[in-house]
Each structure stands twice: as C-alpha cells, then as structure tokens.
Amino acid sequence: MFMFEKAIVGSRRYWVWVACLLGLIVAGLLAYLRQLSYGLGITGLSRDVTWGLYIAQFTFLVGVAASAVMVVLPYYLHNFKVFGKVTILGEMLAISAVTMCMLFILVDMGQPARVWNVVLHPTPNSIMFWDMISLGGYLILNAIIALVTLRAERNAVAPPGWVKPLILLSIPWAISIHTVTAFLYSGLPGRPFWLTAVMAPRFLASAFSSGPALLILLCMIMRRVTWFDVGREPIQKLGLIVTYAMVVNVFLVLMELFTTFYSGIPEHRRHFEFLFVGYQGQAQLVPWMWTSVGLAVLALLLLLVPRYRHNDRLLAVACVATFISLWIDKGLGLIVGGFVPTPLGTVAQYFPTLLETLITLGVWAFGLLLITIFYKITLSVREALAY
C-alpha cells in the first residue's frame, strides 16, 4: 500500500538513522505524556509570553511547506524540465512540513482532546479557522499529487490528466497557507510588532529562501549517502531562487526597520530594541538576533557572488546559513519579540524547558522520519527503473 514496502528494506546505515529518529520520537512522546497529565505548565511559557517554541516552529515550517511551490511552479507552469527530478521531492517535503505544523499546533493546545470543536463550531471570523482549512487542504492536495505522480513514474507512464488541475490549484494554495499564517499575527490590534502589512510578503520571501535551501541540502545529502544524484543544474537553479528570495526578504526587513525607527513610535520601536539591544535590562534574545543577522550577511555574500554560488561547497554553507538565520528570525524572534514588551509596557522572560525542547525535537524527528521514508520510496522506484 502506497509503496510503503519499499521503506522497510534498507542498508544498515538507513536503519541506524531511522532508529535514531525513532528514539527522539519516543523521548518526545514521553515528554508529551507528562505535558498531557500536568498541563502546559511544563513549558517555559507564561502569562505574558503565551506562545513560544511550538508556535514558532509551526510558523517556520508553514514556510518550508509553502516553498514547494518554487519547484512546482517552474516545472508545471513553465515546463522547466530541469526540475523534473526534484519536483516530487519538493512536494514530499511539503507533506512532511505540513504534518509537523499540525503536530506543533496540537502540542500547543491546552485541551487537545477538544480540537474537534474547531470543526463542530466553525468560526469564519477567526483566522485560525482559515488556517485549518488552508493547511488541511494543502496536505491533501500534495499527498494526492505526490502519490499519483510517483505511481505514474513507477509505471513509466504520464500522470493521469485529472491530476493537472490539482497541481495548478496547489500553486495559489501554497501562497495562501503562508499568507493566512501571517494574518494570524498581523491582524491583532494590541501587538504593534506584528501589526504590519509587510508580514505576509516577508513570510513568503523568507519561506522561498529557507525552503529551497533545505531542499538543496537534502539533495546534496542524498548525493552523498545514496546512488541518486539530482544533478548540478537543478541545485544551481534552486540556489538562484534562494538568492532572489533572500534578497527580497532582507529588503523587506529593512523596510520594516525604516518605518519603525524613522517614525519613532515607541510602541513599535521597543520590540526591535528588545530583540537587538535589550529593553529594560532584558536582552536574552540579543545574541540570537545578531547571529541571525551575521548569518544572513554571510549567506547573501556567498549567494550574490556567482563564483561562490557556483561552488557546491560554498553553496551548501550559504544554504545552512540561510536556513539557521531564518529559523532564528522566525522561530525565536518573531513570536517572543511580539509578546515582549507586553501590552502593559513590562518585559517578560521566556526560556524553553527541557521537556518542551524534547517535545519539539520529537516532532522534528517525526517530520524527518516522514521525509526519509518518502525519499526512500521515491529512490527505490527510480532505482528499479534505472535497471
């Protein structure tokens, strides 16, 4: 079923890797059982910082999921053949990322057993309602598309005609998932840090650089540890996409900084001060944010100079730098920075706890396990075709 049988045969190295992931998943599960019985009090969250690591991972991973469109769009809309071998890998990355997003939402809920209430009492005025629809729809779309196109590839036939409209639909749908996720934040009157129209475009730009950067790294890893080589050209084209998106992302961040600091409105300024220099003596995120800035500068340097970008090793460094920089920016700064200073002008601290970190790692491990299984199946199909 779903060609799953191909995922349960593999080399020793494959099984060691799967066992490591399973170990992390079990650790995360045990930590989550503790959270279920005690409550979210096991996390570092508080009255003032009510969302943290979980929601930040969710936000970051929605971007990774949306970025599949960066391979789907050139391949299917522009018939860009170079992406023929990576398109399905992008879609599978999207499936894994959306699954992680849903798990992160679930572990962040105070009453996870009541999650069905969102469906029982549909509330169109809540952006969370639309986020559920867009994420759920995106998951289903990509699952169908990936399965059908992989089956067609296995049987060496063209994918059935009915799947083309679904693929076309998945393109605007990918844009929608990250736009709606940005609206979760940018529509709140009492949170000046998030109250910016540039939030959704910025989300998309950072997604379209961090997602393809991850895809490049995954392709490079596959080249190392498997027989499969996606080839130089798709990686270089993805590198170009990372470059453009990263430039746009940094540009939008600078727009944000200009508006905030030239207008000088204290309520807006203070959040950036908290993140980059500290506010009222609280500077817990300052080293992180400057690391993010440093990595972004390094990434831009390596990406913008063609000589560096064309070098696979340097491109890999650029992709790692891009990914970590944007993970810090979205995974730490965006959420905590929106809560501090509080609407009452006070500062609060947030440090994730060990259990919270284990749960987070567990969800990531589950996502990586999905990617591993999906890529294993794909590679097995292609290996069978090659001989």
Binding site: G41, S46, R47, R114, N117, T123, I127
Partner: protein
C-alpha cells in the same frame, strides 16, 4: 493573607447571606453553555459598563476588597508564581494601565495611583474575533464578553489578541490553589482560558458584581451605558473619563475617572 478579622467576618457573612438567599430564591446558579439562565430578578441592560473612580480607590491601607471578593466568588486560584497567575481583577501601576501616558505630565498624585484592571468588555473585542470555537463571544443582549471554558481548546489566541492582558490561562490544575471553594460556582480545569465576566451569574440573580458590592469606598459604579438615566451615564456626562488604549478601536466599557 492580609485580611483582618473584621473584614473576614464581614465578607464571610455577606457571602453566606448571599448564598442562602440565592439558594432560596433562585436555586443554585445553573451555568450551561457558559452562561446562567435568566430569571424574574435578573438585572438587565443593553450595554453593561463600569466606571472606576481612581480618586476614591486610593485607601492608605492598600485595600483590595474588590479583588478578594471577585476571586473568592469565582474560585480563582491564588497561584504564588506571578508568571502563572490567574487574575480576573488586579491592581497595577498607572503607567501600566495607561502606557501611552507614561511620559505625559500628570496632575497631583495621578501617576502614583494604583489602578484596578479587569476585562474591558469591549464593544468591539479582538479576543472574540479570533476565537476559533466561539468559546468566547459577545452577548448581544447586554454586551458582556462571555467565556465558555468547557468549549475552550486552550489555543491562547485570545490571550495574544487582548490588548489589556485581561485573560489568564490555566497552566496546570488550578484546584489545589483555591483557598475557599465555593460549590455554587464552577472551577476550571487545566488548559483553558478564563477572565472576568462582569459577574453575569450574579446579574442573573439580581445582584451587582461582587467587586462593586465589596468596595468600601463605592469607587466602582456599574450600570447600563445605553440608558441615559443610569448612574454610569450621568457620571460620564459630568466628568472626563479615560479608557484604556482607545486608539485601537476596541471600545472598552470600563471607564476611569481621574
């Protein structure tokens, strides 16, 4: 606990008398779907509002009768860790209540005043707008921002949306922290959000909110802002009143006299 014997007896007596009267006249409060069933004695209004006179509310002994009355009546736990506190009503510094006036010159002792804070029961509440399950909603009949903690999934979107910090989340089981359990009011479970409900369960029985009744200085005035003859409307016609963050368009229904 800072409560002298006299206040304790007074409060206890009031509570007991009220409980007995309540039981006799209206039976136990029936809270279903997050709200109490109205009866003959129910106090009604088109738009409930509160006026807080910060001048009267400045007793030298640091009076907190309103907060204690509220928290006792609603089984609000006393959690020592301020990061995990549950607060339906609390006092805070003037500049925290009105951060936009932080650098403005203010007359007299205004800046030193402690200000009573609670849910503003906004006419245009952002918390209600964002709730994905309608576990919090604006009651059309009287404008109270209601809360059904049996439906709440604990996503805390409303906490992020509230510009006033008026919502509390139960980070763990609150019951061990409740000092005097009142059987007639429900307790909450871990993982749900709660807040002030303008004592809708007392209004249903014909009683004023617990904080209003408990204030020894009569600094809290509660009434129908839509009725021009109510005391609330009269006060707001005669005196200049502040609302918290009016620029956000939430239209708070709690007014502060300076």
């Amino acid at each position: 606990m800072s409560m002298d014997r006299k206040t304790f007896l007074k409060l206890g007596g009031c509570g007991l008398a009220a409980a007995v009267a309540g039981n006799k006249l209206a039976g136990l409060v029936q809270i279903a779907g997050g709200q109490s069933a109205p009866g003959e004695k129910t106090l009604r209004a088109s738009r409930w509002a509160m006026v807080i006179d910060t001048r009267k509310c400045q007793r030298a002994d640091g009076c907190d009768a309103c907060i204690r009355a509220c928290h006792e009546a609603h089984n609000v736990p006393s959690i020592p860790d301020p990061r995990r506190e549950i607060k339906w009503a609390w006092k805070d510094r003037f500049e925290h209540a009105f951060p936009e006036l932080e650098t403005s010159p203010l007359p007299g002792d205004v800046r030193e005043r402690q200000v009573l804070l609670l849910c503003n029961h906004c006419a245009n509440p952002p918390c209600v707008r964002v709730c994905p399950t309608r576990a919090t909603w604006k009651r059309q009949s009287d404008g109270i921002v209601m809360m059904d903690w049996h439906r709440c999934i604990g996503c805390r979107y409303c906490v992020a949306a509230c510009p006033y910090g008026s919502r509390s989340f139960n980070w763990f089981d609150p019951r061990p922290y409740i000092r005097n359990m009142h059987a007639e009011y429900p307790t909450r479970t871990r993982g749900v959000v709660e807040k002030c409900t303008f004592c809708e369960e007392r209004l249903a029985e014909g009683r004023l909110p617990a904080c209003v009744e408990a204030c020894p200085e009569k600094a809290l005035v509660f009434g129908d802002a839509a009725d021009p003859n109510s005391e609330v409307s009269q006060l707001l016609r005669e005196q200049f009143a502040l609302r918290r963050k009016p620029e956000l368009g939430t239209e708070p229904q709690v007014f502060y006299l300076l």
